[in-house]
């Protein structure tokens, strides 16, 4: 191909991601000219219609932003409300929330690793065709995913949009029998989870290195799920409610989702790699050993190795779930009583694909007057584009169809959830 040629590679509808997105890259004379990752998922305006709803409805309503990470939405929402009311949910009630979250991580990570991302590394168009040649691999993935689903079903009532989470705790506590059933299921997939780390570590990895400011929540002595503070590899360490002092969202034309940056700095990344790079010391001993054996150490700077990190987190979630069940002693009541009051509350937790921040303002009757939701994929958009640039430059000599595959694979490194990402900048209207 003559070097002054303009090459355009376009994918009008990205497949094997949650939601509707597209990608376009332009190269001129062997140099990257433009990359665009755009989201055309139609907006559903959650932040607008949350106004006027009661605080108790927010966990169930915001869950409907995303069918693949509803637990994350419910967790960030209840934390924000509890923050507004000055309630702390801890001990066994909080442990059960982490157990529910382990279920979502296991299910979502297994789905992404086996059905959505592994086909890229192994040269298949989908998990369906991968299953034809490697039935045992895909069956193992589905076996793991099922146990994640089962945790969410038992604790939450159903796999998608569970019904049991509420501000202050739970509607009903699980029985010991239900928990023992989950422990048995988890024991059965512990080896599968370890085998997953070993398997993905053998995948051929495109050789790309980059550094970015990695951001995750943190909670003392826990690999983060339910966050207390927000930390970054550039030294940020802030309470969750200072989020808006540090992060900014911008509305750009090509995307129905907002782009996030750190004020006065640049783009940043949330998700498994960020969590690992900031909290590797807090993994379960088994997950830490598996990471070490897989040659993984913090910081992980090859975005394609996120699949290995995801597998390590999957194993961690299995270990964590087993430990929680083992230590569990039923609390006195399924929920903590509180009085609702006017004010503002913030909450952040770790969706499988990264930090999810919620902020609400409430009036004295507990009715929402304002809502802000910052989902992980919106925060990662700029980093996704930055990676596309690097990957495009590194593979610029490849023919279009090969290039397209590696570029799509690069987007899937982020396990993007486009349904989540679509939301709009909320402007304060001065009606004075």
């Amino acid at each position: 191909m003559p070097s002054d040629n303009v090459r355009t590679v376009e994918v009008g509808y990205l497949t094997r991601v949650e939601g509707e997105g597209a990608m376009k890259v332009v190269a001129r004379g062997g140099k990257v000219q433009d990359v665009e990752f755009s989201i055309f998922e139609p907006p559903r305006f959650f932040e607008a219609f949350l106004r006027g709803r009661h605080h108790s409805e927010a966990p169930d309503i915001t869950a409907r932003i995303c069918g693949i990470c509803p637990v994350a939405y419910q967790m960030s929402a209840v934390h924000a409300m509890e923050h507004a009311f000055g309630v702390t949910v801890d001990g066994a009630l909080r442990d059960l929330r982490r157990l529910l979250y382990c279920g979502e991580w296991i299910e979502s990570h297994a789905l992404h690793i086996y059905l959505l991302h592994a086909p890229d590394f192994l040269g298949y168009e989908s998990g369906i065709t991968l299953a034809k040649d490697h039935p045992d691999v895909v069956t193992m993935g589905l076996r793991i995913k099922k146990v994640g689903n089962e945790i969410v079903r038992v604790l939450g009532g159903r796999e998608i949009h569970p019904v049991n989470v509420k501000v202050g705790g739970w509607y009903r506590l699980p029985t010991r029998k239900e928990l023992d059933h989950l422990a048995t299921e988890l024991d059965r997939i512990r080896d599968d989870a370890l085998a997953t780390v070993k398997l993905v570590a053998t995948f051929p990895m495109p050789d790309v290195t980059r550094s970015v400011e990695w951001v995750s929540t943190r909670y003392p002595d826990e690999y983060p799920m339910l966050g207390k503070t927000v930390v970054s590899t550039a030294g940020m360490n802030i309470p969750v409610d200072e989020w808006n002092d540090w992060f900014i969202e911008e509305h750009v034309k090509r995307s129905n989702a907002l782009h996030s940056r750190i004020k006065t700095r640049a783009n940043y990344e949330v998700g498994p790699t960020a969590r690992f790079n900031l909290n590797a010391d807090l993994l379960s001993p088994g997950a830490a050993a598996a990471a070490h054996d897989a040659g993984l150490s913090a910081p992980c700077t090859n975005p394609f190795r996120s699949i290995v990190v995801r597998a390590v987190e999957l194993l961690h979630a299995v270990d964590e779930a087993l430990a929680i069940i083992d230590h569990y002693r039923a609390p006195a009541a399924p929920a903590i009583a509180f009085t609702e009051k006017a004010g503002e509350g913030c909450g952040a937790s770790e969706a499988p694909r990264g930090t999810l921040f919620h902020r609400y303002r409430l009036d004295a009757r507990g009715i929402l007057t304002d809502a802000q939701i910052v989902p992980p994929t919106a925060q990662n958009q700029l980093s996704i584009e930055e990676d596309l640039r690097l990957v495009l430059q590194a593979h610029i000599e490849e023919p279009d169809d090969k290039l397209r595959i590696v570029l799509e694979q690069s987007i899937r490194n982020y396990d993007p959830c486009i349904s989540c990402a679509t939301h709009f900048l909320h402007l304060e209207v001065d009606r004075g």
């Binding site: 559903r44 989908s126 009532g157 949009h161 049991n164 509420k166 509607y171 509305h251 900048l425």
Partner: protein
């Protein structure tokens, strides 16, 4: 003969199509009789129609989608809507009741970047729908039953009675009568297996209205439990706010 199945997405959370993936074991049992040839969220290869069964998730919210559903209809022998978004416009149909002008100015930074309709509407408002599965999300069992029935050439067995019947069937004590917990179960379509009451909370209506719902009588029961009317109205304006039966009930209250 193998049935060619397609899954399409409109404005939604993807939860209903994820239920299709979650039904892996059950589907494996009938795989061989079906072939999922179009499912962009799960596979890259995309095969053109016509399809024997088309599942549609999500509601119509853009001019482009209003046109796209018409094309899809022509490609599908049997069109099945899956979930509250597709059958009644979903929670995002709350926009239908808002003053769109004020609403837009509150939410958009740059409304000119967008191409969106003032309403979120059910698929059946745009094209003929052959079968509807309710729920937010749909029930896996109903999905599998529907595929099995369509392949066998019979009508699927789908209930239209209220959730209360399922509570009785599973022996769950009525949360409304026993504890005064506000529950929409008496006016909501069965299908979930009465999940919420079995988790000690009231039904919040995610399967939408049952056939001939008696909201006036339910309102009496909620009054008796000391629940403010505003709470009932908000509950009816929930995940199936676009259902005509609930809209009428809200007007009458």
């Amino acid at each position: 003969m193998t049935a060619r199945v397609a899954v399409f997405k409109f404005a939604s959370c993807d939860g209903c199509q994820l239920s299709v993936l979650d039904a892996e074991d059950e589907l494996l049992a009938i795989l061989g009789t079906i072939d999922i040839v179009e499912f962009p969220e799960a596979r890259t290869l995309r095969e053109p129609g016509p399809y024997d069964i088309g599942f549609v998730e999500g509601s119509v919210t853009t001019p482009h989608d209003a046109a796209r559903i018409k094309e899809i209809r022509e490609q599908c022998k049997v069109l099945v809507t899956i979930g509250a978004c597709a059958t009644s416009g979903g929670i995002q149909a709350l926009r239908n009741m808002a003053d769109v002008g004020i609403y837009a100015s509150q939410v958009y930074a740059h409304p000119e970047y967008l191409d969106t309709l003032a309403t979120s509407t059910a698929i059946a408002d745009h094209v003929k729908v052959d079968l509807a599965l309710y729920g937010c999300p749909v029930s896996k069992e109903q999905l599998v039953e529907t595929i099995t029935a369509v392949v066998a050439g019979r009508r699927p067995d789908l209930p239209s009675h209220p959730v209360c019947v399922e509570c009785k069937a599973r022996g769950t004590v009525c949360v409304l009568v026993a504890n005064g917990t506000p529950c929409l179960g008496p006016v909501v379509r069965a299908g979930c297996g009465a999940i919420c009451p079995s988790y000690a909370r009231g039904c919040y209506g995610c399967f939408g209205p049952c056939s001939t719902p008696n909201v006036a009588s339910l309102a009496g029961a909620w009054d008796g439990a000391g629940v403010p009317r505003s709470t009932l109205i908000r509950a009816l304006k929930g995940f199936t706010v676009g259902a005509p039966e609930f809209q009428e009930a809200v007007r009458a209250l």
